[in-house]
Amino acid sequence: MNRFALLYFGFAIAMLWSATATAAETPNEQADSDTVTIPLDQIWAYGMPGTRDVRELEPASGQSLVSQIVQSLREPIPQQKARGFTIHGWGLDALREACAVLANGQKPTNAFLAGTRLSVVFFSRISSYYVYVQKVERDGNTVKVYFRLVPHRTKELTEHFALIPLEELSPGKVTVEIIRSPMEKEFIGFKLPDAEVESRIVSQSFHFVIEEPRQ
C-alpha cells in the first residue's frame, strides 16, 4: 500500500468514525430538543454553589425558616428513604411550604392543579458530604435533578436543600428523577456511601400528579 492509499484509508476511517459519532449523537439531540434546562441561578438553595442563597429569602422578622429546615435535616437519620416532594409556590412561598413539611411535619401534597407555580424540594440530611445540585433538566413531565456528592476532607457535617421552580406542567403524572453524577476525578479514592445509606441521606426520586383545573 502506497502513501496515498494509506492516507485515503485513514481519511475513510476518520469519516466513518465521524459519521458514526454523529449518528450516535443525533438521537440524543433530537431527544434533547424538548429538554429544558433550569439554570442553577433560578434555584434557591442552601449550601450549593451556583445557586441563589435561600437565606436571602428570609422574612425580616420571625423565626428563621432556613434554620428550622436545617435543624430538621440535622435530626438523626431515619431508617426510611428520604423522599423528595413538590410544594406550591416559588421563592419565599416555596420556602415557607418546605419549612412546613420538613420542619413542622406537614404531609406533602401529591396532586396539584395545572397552571400553578410549583417547586421541587431536593434535600440531603446531615452527612459528611457536600450535596450539590449540578444540573436540572425537564423534558415534558419528566424532571431530572443531577447532583454531586463532594466528600469533605474536614470533619464538619453539612446539610443542604434546594427549591427548584417548575411551571407549565401538563396534566398527568410527573416524574422527578434524582440522579447522582459520577464523582469527580479529584475525589477518586474517597468512599461513597452505599446505596441504602445514600437513599436515607439524599432525597430520592418521586412522582406527583398534575390535574386538570376543575370546571
Binding site: G47, M48, P49, R55, E58, S64, V66, S67, V70, Q71, R74, P76, I126, S127, S128, Y129, Y130, Y132, V150, P151, H152, R153, T154, K155, E156, L157, T158, E186, F187, I188, G189, F190, K191, L192, P193, V197, I201
Partner: protein
C-alpha cells in the same frame, strides 16, 4: 524527680469566675470544658493547626471577608507547589484560604477560633448562645493549609505538618488536625498508612515531642486517617443535654474504629450547640456547624493551657522538662476526664457513690443511646473477672469528657517517682521500666477510702522508623516511607512496634501481681486506663509492669493517677475529699450552690452558700499535714454564679457522706 509540689496558690492566684450571664452555655464554661476560670491563656505556648486550607490572617491578608479580626494566627502557611518543599506565607490569595468545594467557607476560622479567638460578641443577639472565646487566647497559633491533591493526600498532609512542627524556635507543643484523609493503597486502620505513621513518628522525635490531636470520624465516614494513631489523641464530639455538654454526639461514627480491639477515641469534647467565631460574611441566621472538627481544638487549647502551666512550674522543686512531654499531656488529659457526676446520684450495685468518691467529676456522660454510662461500658469492670481489664477505653467516650479544670488539678499536683517516697493521691510521673517483667511501684501515702473510685492512666509510644529516608535525612520528605509492621497471625499486629505495658492495683506491700485486685492489660495499643471502685478502706499501691521487649529493653511512659483519701475531712474546704483544697473544691461548691448538699456545706449552716466559699477560700492550698495558705481574690460576679447555679438545677439534698 522528688516529691510533690502544691501549686494551687499559683494556679488560683488569678481565679476569675465566669463573668458572663451566658457562662452556662459557653463551651469553656463550667458546663463545657471549664477552662475559663483557670487563669491561664496559653501565653507563650505555640500550637499548630493543619487543614486543607488555612485561616485568614488579619496581619497580612487583605481581603477582609476572608478573616476575622479576633482570630489572629501568629503565622500562616500554605503549601503552594507539589511536591517540592516550598511554602509561602505572604501571598494574599483567596484560593489559599477558602475551600472551593465548601459553600459555607470558614472551617479553618472556626477551628482556629475555638483555640485562640478573642471574640466576645454575640452575633445572634439575645439568646442562649454566644460567640466562643477561644480556650487559649494567648497561644501562638501556626496554621498551615496542605493544599493536598487526591487520591493520596497523605504526603502533602505530612510534609505540611512537619513544616510547622520543626520551625526553628517555634517549639510547637501540640497540633490540631480537624481533617482526615481517605484510606488508600489497600490500607486498613492499623496505623500503617503514611499520615498516621508520620504523626506517630513525629511525636516521638526528641526535637518535636508534639501532642497530635485528631478529630474523630463522623457521618458516613470516609476520611479516617489518621484517627488510628497510637501516640496522639483522637477526639469525638459531645452535644448538650440541657446546658451541659455530656452526651456523645449522634453523628460520631464509630464504625471506622482502629483495627483489632483497639479503640480510636481517647476523649470527647464539645462539637455541637455553640456559636463559633465566623467569617464576616457568615449570616447570623446560619445554624452553627457540627462536628468532631470542633471538639479536637478544645483539647488542643487545653493542652496549651497545661503547657503554659508547665512553663510556670518548671525549675521549681519537683518540676522539670518532663512535664512538657506529649505522653504526660495525654495521660493527664485522659485521667482527669469526666465519666460520672460526683454528687451522690450515681448508684453502683444499688448503693450511691458518696460525695467525693467520683473524684470531683462534674457530669455524667451518656452514650449515643442517651442512657448508657460508663457503668454500662465494656471498659468499666477492671476487676479480676471483668472484661474491662482488656478494654481500657469506651468505643464512644474514650476515657470520658474533657474537663480542663480537673486536668489542671491532675497536673498541678506534680510529678512523683516510682519506688521512692510514697505518692499523694493525685499525681503523675514520667518513668521508665527496664525490661520484660520489670515493674515500677507507686505506693499511696494515705489509706484510700472504701466506695471511692481510683483512676489511673498509662500512656506510652509505639515506635516508628523510616524505611526510606531521603535527604535531608531525619526529616520526612515526599517519597520517604516508614517501616510497616507485619502481622504474623499470632501476635497482635501492632506488637512488633509496641512494648506491652500493664497496670495493676494491689494492697500495699504486695509481693506479686497475683495479689492484684484490679488490673488493665489490653494486648493492643499504647494506652491503659483503670477506673475502679475501692472495695475496702486500706493501704494500696499500683504497679506499672512491662510485659515484653518487642521494641527494646527499656520503655518510657507517662502515668497519671487520682484517688480519694480515707480522711477527707481533715482539711476544711476540701469538698472533693481528695485531701487538698483546690479548684475542684471551688467547682463543687459552685455546682451545689443553693442546695443542702452536706459535702459542700463547709460552714455547717445547712445550706451551700457564700459562707462555704469563705471556708474554701480561707483554706485554699492546704493539704493534709500542710499549713500552707494561698490568697485568692474575691470572686467576681457572685450574683451571676448564684443565678447560674440555680439555673443548672443543682437542687439536690445530698447528704450521703463517705463511709470509712
Amino acid at each position: 524527680m522528688n516529691g510533690p509540689i502544691l501549686g494551687g496558690s499559683v494556679l488560683l492566684a488569678s481565679l476569675v469566675v465566669v463573668p458572663s450571664s451566658f457562662g452556662n452555655v459557653l463551651t469553656n464554661g463550667i458546663n463545657g470544658i471549664n477552662s475559663s476560670s483557670l487563669g491561664l491563656t496559653g501565653a507563650g505556648v505555640t500550637i499548630g493547626q493543619v487543614e486543607p486550607f488555612r485561616p485568614g490572617d488579619p496581619s497580612f491578608d487583605t481581603m477582609g471577608s476572608l478573616f476575622h479580626s479576633s482570630v489572629n494566627p501568629a503565622q500562616v502557611f500554605f503549601r503552594n507547589t507539589i511536591p517540592t518543599l516550598n511554602f509561602n506565607a505572604t501571598m494574599d490569595d483567596s484560593t489559599e484560604i477558602i475551600d472551593p468545594n465548601a459553600t459555607k467557607p470558614g472551617h479553618s476560622v472556626w477551628v482556629a477560633g475555638i483555640m485562640v479567638s478573642t471574640d466576645t460578641t454575640d452575633p445572634d443577639g439575645p439568646g442562649p448562645m454566644v460567640a466562643l472565646t477561644g480556650v487559649a487566647t494567648g497561644a501562638n497559633l501556626y496554621s498551615i493549609g496542605d493544599n493536598g491533591a487526591g487520591p493520596d493526600f497523605d504526603p502533602e498532609s505530612a510534609i505540611s505538618t512537619q513544616h510547622i512542627a520543626i520551625i526553628p524556635g517555634a517549639n510547637v507543643r501540640t497540633i490540631n488536625m480537624s481533617f482526615g484523609n481517605p484510606l488508600v493503597g489497600g490500607h486498613i486502620l492499623d496505623g500503617n498508612q503514611l499520615l498516621t505513621q508520620f504523626i506517630d513518628w513525629s511525636a516521638t522525635q526528641p526535637q518535636q515531642d508534639i501532642l497530635y490531636v485528631v478529630a474523630g470520624n463522623e457521618g458516613t465516614g470516609g476520611i479516617p486517617v489518621p484517627t488510628d494513631n497510637f501516640n496522639g489523641m483522637t477526639v469525638a464530639y459531645s452535644e448538650r443535654v440541657g446546658n451541659v455538654w455530656r452526651r456523645v454526639g449522634s453523628m460520631n461514627n464509630f464504625l471506622e474504629d482502629a483495627e483489632v480491639d483497639r479503640t480510636s477515641i481517647d476523649l470527647i469534647a464539645p462539637g455541637d450547640g455553640f456559636e463559633m467565631t465566623s467569617l464576616g460574611t457568615m449570616p447570623t441566621t446560619t445554624p452553627h456547624p457540627i462536628g468532631t472538627s470542633f471538639a479536637a481544638p478544645h483539647v488542643t487549647g487545653t493542652a496549651a493551657l497545661l503547657q503554659q502551666f508547665a512553663t510556670q512550674k518548671i525549675g521549681t522543686p519537683g518540676w522539670d522538662a518532663d512535664a512538657r512531654r506529649h505522653q504526660v499531656m495525654k495521660a493527664v488529659l485522659m485521667n482527669s476526664a469526666d465519666k460520672l457526676i460526683d454528687n451522690c446520684t450515681v448508684m453502683v450495685n444499688g448503693n450511691p457513690v458518696p460525695q467525693g468518691g467520683l473524684l470531683g467529676m462534674t457530669r455524667t456522660v451518656v452514650k449515643q443511646d442517651g442512657s448508657s454510662t460508663w457503668l454500662d461500658s465494656f471498659a468499666y469492670d477492671d476487676s479480676l473477672d471483668g472484661l474491662g481489664k482488656f478494654t481500657p477505653l469506651d468505643e464512644e467516650m474514650g476515657a470520658g469528657h474533657l474537663n480542663a479544670s480537673r486536668a489542671l488539678t491532675q497536673f498541678d499536683r506534680g510529678e512523683f517517682d516510682a519506688d521512692g517516697a510514697d505518692v499523694q493521691r493525685i499525681g503523675w510521673d514520667w518513668g521508665t521500666t527496664s525490661g520484660d517483667g520489670d515493674f515500677n511501684r507507686y505506693r499511696f501515702a494515705d489509706e484510700l477510702r472504701a466506695e471511692s473510685f481510683i483512676s489511673i492512666t498509662l500512656a506510652w509510644d509505639r515506635e516508628v522508623a523510616f524505611a526510606t529516608d531521603m535527604a535531608p535525612f531525619g526529616q520526612y520528605n515526599v517519597g520517604d516511607t516508614f517501616e510497616e509492621y507485619v502481622d504474623n497471625g499470632i501476635d497482635p499486629p501492632d506488637d512488633s512496634v509496641i512494648n506491652d505495658m500493664d497496670i495493676y492495683l494491689l494492697p500495699r506491700g504486695a509481693a506479686s501481681i497475683t495479689e492484684a485486685i484490679a488490673l488493665t492489660l489490653s494486648p493492643v495499643g499504647t494506652l491503659e486506663h483503670l477506673f475502679f471502685q475501692i472495695p475496702t478502706t486500706g493501704e494500696y499501691e499500683f504497679w506499672i509492669l512491662q510485659g515484653d521487649e518487642d521494641v527494646g529493653v527499656t520503655q518510657d511512659y507517662a502515668v497519671a493517677w487520682w484517688a480519694v483519701a480515707a480522711n477527707p475531712a481533715v482539711v476544711q474546704g476540701d469538698y472533693s475529699g481528695d485531701g487538698i483544697v483546690g479548684i475542684e473544691d471551688y467547682n463543687l461548691w459552685k455546682a451545689n450552690f443553693g442546695t443542702a448538699n452536706a459535702a459542700t456545706d463547709g460552714s455547717g449552716n445547712g445550706i451551700v452558700d457564700a459562707a462555704d466559699y469563705t471556708v474554701w477560700r480561707d483554706h485554699l492550698g492546704q493539704m493534709v499535714g500542710s499549713g500552707s495558705l494561698a490568697s485568692v481574690p474575691e470572686p467576681m460576679g457572685m450574683g451571676l454564679v448564684v443565678l447560674t447555679s440555680i439555673g443548672l438545677g443543682f437542687v439536690r439534698n445530698c447528704r450521703v457522706r463517705l463511709r470509712t
